[in-house]
């Protein structure tokens, strides 16, 4: 399978995950969006040295993955290209912040190491929460939820059309790569000399297709505003879920559960 087809299949696989029927899938998109947003804000608000307080925040996405029936490993397998970048944030902190903050046995741990770990955890937790939202909510419903909170229609159209364009682009790239390899069987990848025309053709072909998509939209009255059909009724638990979950997240922010648990044993 060529890389473009694989990437296309990955996107389609996320579309398949969305079709699940777990309690998390049944929640209203707006409640999931709100909880994800509050969770991310809370996670990034942690002090750079508050690693114990932050650590407990992993429970929220982990419980979410369990309830949705989506393995946590799916998030990491799908987003592995992003993870190194997420983890690279703060990589240089140990060089600049060398003040010793604590000792783990004989090992001295500097503030830079703690803040690096905190930043990495923040990034990974936010990615986990975002992936959970995307894997349990169709893109159209996320856009509908964004529209409900008055995000400008231009931004939403841009988001939705970009998502569509990515699949069109990958589809065309897959077809072209197959066509190339059928006539260049001994080559690994696409020769550098062919990249110019390959990319040019890819752009033209995908633009032709997106032009047709756009024509199909304007033929049905599209004037910049997407209207969304209901694909499934939202669970009655959506509002209680949003309230309880948000409250729990905020509580975890201001009450150090790790320290409280630790004090039970010390």
């Amino acid at each position: 399978m060529n890389a473009a087809r694989k990437a296309y299949a990955e996107i389609k696989e996320i579309d398949e995950l969305v079709l699940g029927d777990s309690p998390v899938h049944r929640l209203s998109p707006l409640s999931k969006l709100a909880v994800t947003f509050i969770y991310i804000l809370t996670v990034v608000s942690f002090n750079r040295y508050d690693i114990t307080g932050l650590f407990v925040m992993v429970l929220v996405p982990v419980i979410g993955y369990q309830a949705s029936g989506i393995p946590v490993s799916k998030c990491f397998s799908k987003l592995w290209p992003v993870m190194p970048m997420v983890c690279a944030v703060g990589l240089f902190n140990p060089l600049f912040d060398r003040e010793i903050m604590l000792y783990v046995g004989p090992l001295a741990v500097s503030g830079g190491v703690i803040s690096m770990l905190t930043l990495m955890m923040k990034g990974v937790f936010c990615v986990m929460a975002s992936f959970l939202l995307v894997a349990t909510t169709p893109i159209d419903e996320i856009c509908r939820a964004l529209r409900q909170i008055r995000i400008h229609r231009m931004f939403i159209s841009l988001l939705l059309l970009t998502y569509r364009y990515i699949t069109v682009l990958l589809n065309e790239a897959a077809v072209m790569t197959d066509a190339y390899h059928l006539r260049a069987p001994r080559q690994k990848g696409i020769q550098f000399s062919a990249w110019g025309s390959f990319l040019g053709q890819l752009l033209l072909r995908s633009m032709d297709r997106t032009q047709e998509l756009y024509e199909s939209m304007v033929m049905r009255g599209f004037e910049g505003e997407f209207h969304y059909a209901r694909t499934r009724a939202a669970s009655a638990y959506s509002v209680p879920f949003a309230l309880i979950c948000s409250a729990a997240v905020v509580l975890m922010r201001f009450y150090n559960i790790s320290a409280a648990l630790g004090s039970l044993f010390v």
Partner: protein
């Protein structure tokens, strides 16, 4: 009623596609638009709904095809693209079908009811919640027609509707087209289908009208068809002999 008066169109590079086309399609007519590749069939259809700006005058139900009238014109004309993947851009058939009616101000529940009714009428209710990327080519084509019909158009324009369909799906499509009461304009190379679905045939050649008449007359004229890069429909020509081997 759609009327073209002295319509011409050239690509940006200057290559002419349509030359001085004048024709009139009355309400209720079933018109086959035929011609060799590059004859201008798709361009003529796109000009009719304002997807391209052609020279000359085009009117739809008395309204000229201009920016002011486009929303009203496009509401009355259902356009089915050649590639169903490009027509169906929403995740599910239901969402695609409600897209148009909701853009024209219908409430979600009304649009869904209309979609249900349309799908039931076409015998496609089982496709309602199907994801577009999970359907076969034949299902996609029928769903694409359903998305256009959900707008309750008076006229249905189709570009190569039978391309890449297997015989069974093609037969289903022909039966569906014959059961629809709308005015239909079908651009196609499938002359057998034209013979079964259309009363009138317009033959385009190099952007001009080479023939316009009853389907039976035009499609039986071997000399005319061959002169314009086509062949007699298989059902009239009989089974062709092998020319090699």
């Amino acid at each position: 009623m759609i009327e073209f008066k002295n319509v011409s169109y050239s690509y940006a590079c200057g290559r002419p596609v349509l030359h001085d086309i004048s024709l009139r399609i009355e309400d209720g007519e079933q018109v086959g638009l035929i011609g060799a590749n590059g004859a201008g069939k798709s361009t003529l259809l796109k000009a009719a709904v304002g997807l391209i700006s052609a020279q000359g005058v085009i009117t739809v139900n008395g309204m000229s095809v201009s920016a002011d009238n486009l929303p009203e014109i496009r509401k009355t004309i259902g356009y089915v693209l050649q590639n169903s993947d490009n027509q169906m851009f929403m995740p599910t058939v239901l969402e695609d079908m409600t897209f148009g009616p909701m853009n024209y101000g219908m409430s979600r529940s009304e649009a869904e009811a209309l979609a249900d009714e349309t799908l039931a009428g076409l015998g496609l209710s089982h496709l309602k919640n199907r994801h577009n990327h999970r359907m076969s080519g034949g299902e996609k084509r029928m769903a694409a027609i359903a998305t256009a019909l959900a707008m309750r158009p008076g006229t249905l324009i189709m570009d190569e509707p039978s391309s890449s369909l297997d015989p069974r799906n093609r037969r289903g499509l022909i039966n569906t087209l014959n059961s629809l009461g709308q005015t239909k304009i079908i651009a196609t190379h499938d002359l057998d289908m034209v013979l079964e679905t259309c009363d009138r045939v317009i033959l385009l050649s190099d952007g001009a009208i080479a023939a316009d008449g009853k389907a039976g007359d035009v499609l039986r004229d071997r000399e005319l068809l061959e002169k314009n890069g086509l062949e007699l429909p298989f059902c009239l020509a009989g089974v062709p002999e092998r020319t090699r081997g």
